[in-house]
Amino acid sequence: MSGVRVLVGTRKGAFVLTSDGQREEWDIAGPYFGGWEIYHLKGSPADHDRLYASQYSSWSGQVIQRSDDGGTTWAPVGNEFGYDGVPGTHQWYDGTPHPWEFERVWHLEPSLADPDTVYAGVEDAGLFLSTDGGLHWEELPGLRGHGSGQYWQPGAGGMCLHTIILDPVESSRMFAAISAAGTFRSDDAGKTWRPVNRGLESEGIPDPKAEVGHCVHRIAMHPSRPEVLYMQKHWDVMRSDDAGESWHEISGNLPTDFGFPIEVHAHEPDTIYVVPITSDSLHYPPDGRLRVYRSRTGGGEWEPLTEGLPQEHCYVNVLRDAMAVDAFDPCGVYFGTTGGQVYASSNAGDSWAPVVRDLPAVLSVEVQTLL
């Protein structure tokens, strides 16, 4: 089958949107796991039929679901996320020590090569690994235990590990991002870690250039150029050209540099997308106009993309994991909103159309290109 499968996690269940390469007619399946918060779903790059989903509710906690048939049927797998050893403490909002407590899985990142290997980024921030298709999970404690963990503090949404990037070239290199701690890099497949936040500057923390304490919202990489990273921080859009060793600002002419997602075009490593949001207290687009901004120069110079998007009375947000691209040519770009709309562009963002308008608030959007 040639086509695209869009995996949508919402506050009240998961949805699977499918289309052919034209991306004009859509089939919408779901809700799966109705009533539960689906923080994230993602497919294995090594087996398009293998999907993982993070299912959560305040009542009943964390469940991990797995599909082996592309999302038609699902079964719960392991949901025991025990921190390694004595977990110790991080800082609470008031600066007091707070014991590490598992709350939920924010992000699932399947291995690039093995469908049974999958990483989980959790709240309170930690990184877990399963090598048996999600049945059992073990923490990679080097991240939480590398030294700065005791100083990490939660952001407003909790202290979550929300981004995991696996380097397709240097196979032992990976990146993780935590709110509100920052970006971390491992060069030995997750065993040991170090903060890579030089160049970030955050008002609102005692030392604006501190080694940790930055509220990184998301980072993105193009697989053909893994040394280049893009970041949407709480405020500021940033870029690193040396695998996180240093960062510089590329906010340029954006109307506001606050936002959550950042994504890279499938075929053009210098074409990136963000959705500017008014401010940290006004979580909606400036002027009530929903605009995706695209840079074709790797940041700095941005153009608004508005065709097909509401340009008045729009006060939705787009969350950090709710934007993705497909691998067709022209590249498809997708994002979901807290108002329940999923928008798609089949021409790299030049124009947009809603795939579906009235889902529950969208938490995550991932795309599988089925060739």
């Binding site: 539960w36 305040s58 009542w59 009943s60 906690g61 469940v63 719960p76 949901n79 025991e80 025990g82």
Partner: protein
């Protein structure tokens, strides 16, 4: 047989239709009922009690015979009508959230 009623979202998760009936050897307590329930339906592990501490999740309550047993010691015997199968042991999702 011990009858157990689960909230809808957990019935859906564990693919349970209606009440659960559990045969329990030995003392019938909240702990042994939940142990048997989780052994029969592994998908429920961690959704009612913490995996490790076995502490009840905050928004889950346990009722039987018009009594709230949520704060009772887990090793006390359940009421006689539950043991006799005349009344179910109720696992309830608290009224909270949206």
């Amino acid at each position: 047989m011990i009858r157990v009623v689960l909230p809808a979202h957990l019935r859906m998760l564990a693919r349970i239709d209606g009440e659960v009936e559990l045969a329990i050897d030995g003392a019938v307590t909240q702990r042994t009922v939940l142990d048997a329930l989780e052994a029969t339906y592994p998908a429920l592990r961690g959704t009612i009690r913490d995996h490790e501490t076995k502490r009840r999740r905050p928004y889950i309550r346990f009722f039987a015979c018009q009594e709230d047993l949520s704060h009772e010691p887990p090793d006390l015997p359940l009421p006689a009508p539950v043991l006799a199968g005349a009344e179910p042991y109720l696992i309830v999702g608290a009224m909270a959230g949206g």
